[in-house]
Symmetry: C2
Subunit: 220 residues, 2 copies
């Protein structure tokens, strides 16, 4: 039995770069210099280019032949597109989760919502927990769909993009914690009752509402 812990250099650089983009160390629109980044991350251009290829697949950077790569910079239009796709995919996740969710995941969901509620009661101004809690809520439902393709598309591709957008537009994505909590509660109830159609519709409304709020903010 061999230890399989060692990851390849390209994989490590990929993680580091993705983190750097999402953390804001590499700003949207900024040009990427292969030689410089390679030396900074302690490898040659080969593995770095593989990492760039993966980042392009996740739409976090854009490349042009013989010109180079830039961190993606997002338009309002693209943000709308992202929310439209997310809306139907997470709706599907909810519909599936309503049928497939395990007892253990249901308990986890209850605990999550309880914690969320306590934080709201204690201090409505605390924003840091609800943001993380929001992510936890959505990730839990996505995972519960038991659809590997869906989980990958949402978790690996769309959510990193969403995170980048939120940073770029300086949007917490969670500016009405009380309303969001109530919507989460309704979604969870539908799932607990096994009503997939209702859960799907509620999640779609939940995300559509966030999209409309964003649109309102962006156009004013």
């Amino acid at each position: 039995m061999h230890d399989n812990n060692k990851q390849t250099a390209a994989a490590r650089i990929f993680s580091e770069l993705q983190q750097a983009i999402l953390d804001g160390q590499l700003l949207p629109g900024s040009k990427i210099n292969e030689a410089e980044l390679a030396t900074r991350h302690g490898c040659s251009r080969g593995p770095l280019r593989e990492a760039l290829q993966r980042l392009e697949g996740l739409r976090l950077i854009q490349r042009e032949a013989h010109v180079g790569a830039r961190v993606i910079s997002l338009s309002d239009q693209q943000l709308t597109e992202l929310y439209q796709v997310r809306e139907v995919l997470e709706g599907l996740a909810c519909r599936l989760a309503a049928t497939l969710m395990t007892k253990q995941a249901k308990d986890e969901l209850k605990t999550l919502l309880d914690t969320h509620r306590r934080y709201l009661e204690e201090d409505g101004q605390q924003k840091y927990y609800p943001q993380a809690g929001d992510l936890d809520f959505h990730y839990l439902l996505i995972r519960s769909s038991q659809n590997a393709l869906l989980i990958s598309q949402l978790g690996d591709e769309l959510y990193p993009l969403l995170q980048l957008y939120r940073r770029q537009f300086r949007d917490s994505g969670y500016q009405q914690p009380e309303l969001a909590y109530k919507e989460h509660l309704h979604i969870a109830e539908a799932i607990m009752e096994g009503d997939g159609e209702l859960a799907e519709m509620l999640m779609r409304k939940h995300i559509a509402r966030a999209r409309k709020r964003l649109k309102y903010i962006l156009t004013t």
Copy 2:
């Protein structure tokens, strides 16, 4: 102004390999030898590895560090997952298309359906046209959504996978041309009337029906 026709070697190899996989020249499950493929396609391993990276992003191959790449081989479960995701994404495309479709695209759609009908009337046994026609129909609606992310996810990622699945399971995906034509007609009518909600629902039912038929075929 420079001619920008020249594409990079990696891009060319990527296209060739994708085509080879979808054509069945590279069979699902078969191992990919980098050195051999590189020489066969007339380049070194560098560009070839970039192409493999992109293919992995499209989920057409799977790679494992220090072991290598294999063409993906799909389970019934994965086929179901694909159809579930496709169902909601194409539903979204229809909803958007109903509002955004241009006059020109609407004319194109009418022509498409007319041609389809004529082929059915002339010879119900002719399967080759309806298959292509089915693709044309879905692609036209997808493009009409005017959502670049959606178009890319469906056209670049999901449809190639679907094509591979159909080959692997020897399924034309179009075994009831008359029914499919009628469903297409209803979808088109809803779009022409600008009823996005109805168009979305009809498309979802259309794809869900195909998924259930597939499931039935696979379990018997």
